[in-house]
């Protein structure tokens, strides 16, 4: 049966058909839907791990114990999982293990656009790259066979454009794969120097065998046509190449590490001009050049962002840019913003008012950095806020800390903020840490995590109590406030900033998009008699309130969900409550 599937659903289906019994991930765009979809297959154990490092460690354990295992994460998540990645590459597998790296050329939803094909060479593992959902399904299945055949985890590297594009996909049957027997084998699975030396020998051997496999695998194929132009490509750029140059000869690589040297040499010999088309880093190009083959690539194509058929035509054929109507330059920008009623808005309103230095973190609340709230000074990576605030204090002293805070979400705190807080307590920091607890992982689409008390399948789980946790770490001053009660929040912040001790303020209010999060018994309206047009309510940057230029008045629109923030910032009591009919 053929179905339209996004790449991520196809990977989940492929893993299911390959007999996977364990799947683990931490959510992160563009990877989230993979394990979300797997959770719909009852015969697979699926979980949200607290972070990607734990996910890969659970995956390693499941593989060593004999199960076919899928581990999924976004590109920067692989950095978090890099420690087990580099050693698990030495131990090899028992049951096949496939790790998905979902890269984000164009930074649609990420803090960088690193190219994780680089991990393949660095960690000495095979990297496979599909170009549509059908290949995503087929290659995922094949990746499990490769993993077991060559005793190594396999990375399936995808990009946002594959993850979130639907293409026609043939669905197959699940193959039941029994657990492989588990046998203690310390020389393979205990990475002591003495054992690891032996494993390194094995890794090099299996890479050698993979090199030979690369020459003949159906993952790599030549589509010979007009020999005047030969293009080496992989992943979604293959589709752009097919569209832009329908008659070019193509070497399509499905296995991008290790590369098929002989196949590439023979292809190069059959074409007049050889070009590599790859988004981001010149991973293929540099290796091909190192073999003395005459090839071009990044001298004409950018290292930045996504490609398209149109871009390739312009660069390679010198095609003109299509005519522009120019209207796009006349319209105002529309950046993403916090939802009407979002609890984070209260926090950033207060932070801006108090002119604090804010070490930020990753989540919806990162939007607090942009206009009009502009309440964030730094955002580096998941969990970085607390360490960053601590470093600022150690550089500039406790007076500086008294004017700065770390801001981190509940899911991000569990992911990698806890150790930062331990450092603050242990090394005598006085940071004030605000944990914005909205009871979900909101930005990626509302996934549960240990502190929500629900599993990926919405089954009850022991709930991680954030307050008890931070007290156990040694934080004596722990406050819980409603972030939409801004006077109270400001007062609490002042008290905690004044303390020469670490403090945690838990800003507790569920994400407004969660079912039943906020059910106001009243609605708001603006009393035109009292509204002076001062725009204080407009400056909180809420979609529920609009300024009517002609009347010089604020107006609440259909987007308003009566969170009460504008009511609190209005100095003229112009925002009134009315009963809901």
């Amino acid at each position: 049966m053929k179905k339209l599937l996004i790449g991520n659903e196809a990977i989940a289906r492929g893993a299911y058909e390959a007999g996977v019994t364990v799947a683990t991930a931490y959510p992160g765009t563009p990877s989230t839907e993979i394990v979300n979809s797997i959770a719909e297959y009852p015969d697979v154990y699926a979980e949200w791990a607290p972070n990607e490092k734990v996910a890969l460690e659970v995956g390693a354990g499941a593989s060593i114990a004999g199960a076919r295992t899928l581990v999924a994460m976004k590109h920067v998540g692989v950095n978090v999982a890099a420690d087990p990645l580099y050693s698990f590459s030495y131990t090899g597998v028992n049951g096949g293990l496939v790790i998905i790296s979902a890269d984000d050329p164009g930074l649609h939803s990420s803090q960088n656009e690193q190219d994780n094909r680089g991990y393949g060479r660095f960690a000495k593992i095979p990297v496979i790259e599909p170009s549509d959902s059908q290949e995503a399904l087929d290659y995922t299945k094949l990746a499990f066979d490769i993993s077991e055949q060559f005793d190594t985890m396999v990375m399936l590297r995808i990009t946002m454009r594959l993850a979130h594009s639907q293409t026609m996909t043939e669905i197959g049957e699940r193959q039941e794969v029994p657990l492989k027997p588990y046998q203690k084998n310390a020389a393979k699975y205990v990475m002591l120097p003495g054992f690891a030396r032996g494993r390194h020998v094995e890794v090099e051997k299996s890479l050698q065998q993979l090199q030979e496999y690369a020459e003949t695998t159906p993952l790599n194929r030549i589509e010979m046509d007009d020999p005047s132009l030969g293009i080496i490509t992989s992943g979604v750029p293959y589709q752009y190449v097919k569209e832009a140059f329908p008659h070019a000869s193509i070497l399509k690589l499905g296995l991008v590490n290790p590369l098929p040297k002989e196949l590439i040499k023979s292809f190069a010999a059959r074409v007049e001009k050889l070009v590599v088309v790859e988004e981001l880093e010149p991973v293929i190009e540099e290796q091909v050049k190192s073999w003395g083959i005459d090839v071009t690539g990044k001298d004409q194509f950018t290292l930045l962002g996504e490609y398209s058929a149109e871009y390739l035509k312009q660069k390679l054929n010198g095609a003109d840019e299509p005519l522009s109507f120019g209207l796009d330059k006349e319209v105002p920008a529309r950046p993403p913003l916090l939802c009407a009623g979002c609890p984070h808005r209260g926090v950033f309103h207060v932070l801006r008012k108090m002119r604090l230095v804010v070490a930020g973190d990753i989540g919806c609340y990162t939007l607090g950095a942009i206009s009009p709230l502009e309440g964030m000074d730094t955002c580096i990576c998941m969990g970085a806020s607390i360490g960053t605030a601590m470093g600022m204090e150690k550089a500039r002293g406790p007076e500086f800390a008294a004017k700065s805070v770390a801001v981190i979400g509940d899911s991000t705190f569990v992911h990698s903020g806890i150790t930062g807080l331990i450092d603050v307590v242990y090394n005598g920091g006085t940071s004030t840490v605000m944990i914005l607890d909205n009871d979900t992982t909101a930005m990626t689409g509302h996934q549960d995590h240990p502190a929500t008390g629900l599993t990926i399948r919405k089954q009850p789980a022991p709930k991680l109590e954030i307050e008890a946790l931070v007290r156990a770490i040694g934080v004596k001053n722990v406050r819980i406030v409603d972030p939409l009660k801004i006077d109270e929040l400001e007062a609490v912040l002042k008290e905690e900033l004044a303390r020469r001790e670490p403090s945690v303020i838990i800003c507790k209010r569920p994400c407004v998009l969660l079912p039943g999060a906020l059910k106001p018994e009243y609605r708001f309206y603006v009393d035109d008699e009292l509204c002076t047009g001062c725009k204080a309510c407009i400056r909180v940057g809420c979609t529920g309130v609009t300024f009517i230029d002609e009347e010089k008045k604020a107006r609440l629109n259909a987007g308003c969900i009566a969170c009460g923030l504008c009511e609190q910032v209005c100095k003229f009591d112009a925002i009134k409550r009315a009963e809901v009919q």
Binding site: K2, L4, I6, T29, P30, T32, E33, H108, S109, D132, R161, H164, S165, Q166, T167, M168, V236, Q239, Y240, K242, E243, S308, A309, E310, E321, P322, L323, S324, F325, L327, D328, E330, V331, P332, A333, R334, P335, P336, L337, L338, C339, C364, L367, S371, P372, M443, T444, G445, K535, I538, R539, G541, C542, T543, V545, T546, F547, D549
Partner: protein
């Protein structure tokens, strides 16, 4: 079967249902036996930002994204979004605009004025422009959120999609409780072109 690829760009504001709409159109194309590709935006941009979904169908489709100057139709759920993406339209392409204004942040904060006549400018540049009060029609059908299906109805008539195939797709994709309103909205839309 058409040899060429049909390109439909669906633009709007995160939360307006571009994803659902692209899935309905794609489902129709699947039912009609075409090769189909749909490109979607998930994640951060969904939070009230400018969003685009792209549907391409034909005998064989390669790229999941539409190049500038290649869209047969732009379906705009909001006025300025039609203008923002207009360069993707073919020279003889068609634009269907919901006469809906959603203020972006720079407008809300009073830094920039909303260009209220923008749909007239689009119509001035593109002869095949239709502006419709789809939200009002949807409200009359029972739910403002069905505005996107009004536009799907207009699209169906415009490019000759059989109504029964479209209704089959809507039935397959729209949640059962909202189905009646959506079918009504779709039929209203069909009549408008």
């Amino acid at each position: 079967m058409l040899d060429k690829v049909t390109n439909i760009l669906i633009v709007g504001v995160g939360g307006q249902g571009t994803l659902l709409t692209s899935r309905i159109i794609a489902q129709v194309a699947v039912q009609m036996g075409y090769d189909v590709k749909v490109s979607e935006i998930h994640g951060m941009a969904q939070r009230g930002g400018s969003v685009v979904s792209q549907v391409r169908y034909g005998q064989k489709v390669y790229s999941p994204i539409i190049s500038k100057g290649e869209a047969d139709i732009i379906l705009a759920f909001e006025k300025i979004e039609a203008a923002r993406w207009l360069d993707y339209l073919k020279p003889d392409g068609m634009v269907i605009i919901n006469n809906e204004r959603v203020n972006p942040l720079p407008v809300m904060s009073g830094k920039v004025k909303y260009p209220d006549d923008i749909h007239a400018k689009v119509a001035g540049l593109v002869p095949k422009t239709t502006v419709v009060d789809a939200t009002e029609i949807a409200v009359n059908c029972g739910n403002a959120r069905a505005a996107n299906v009004v536009l799907v109805g207009m699209l169906a008539t415009a490019i000759g999609i059989p109504a029964d195939e479209a209704e089959k797709a809507i039935t397959a994709i729209v949640p059962a409780r909202a189905l009646e309103v959506n079918l009504k909205a779709f039929r209203e839309g069909c009549q408008l072109m």
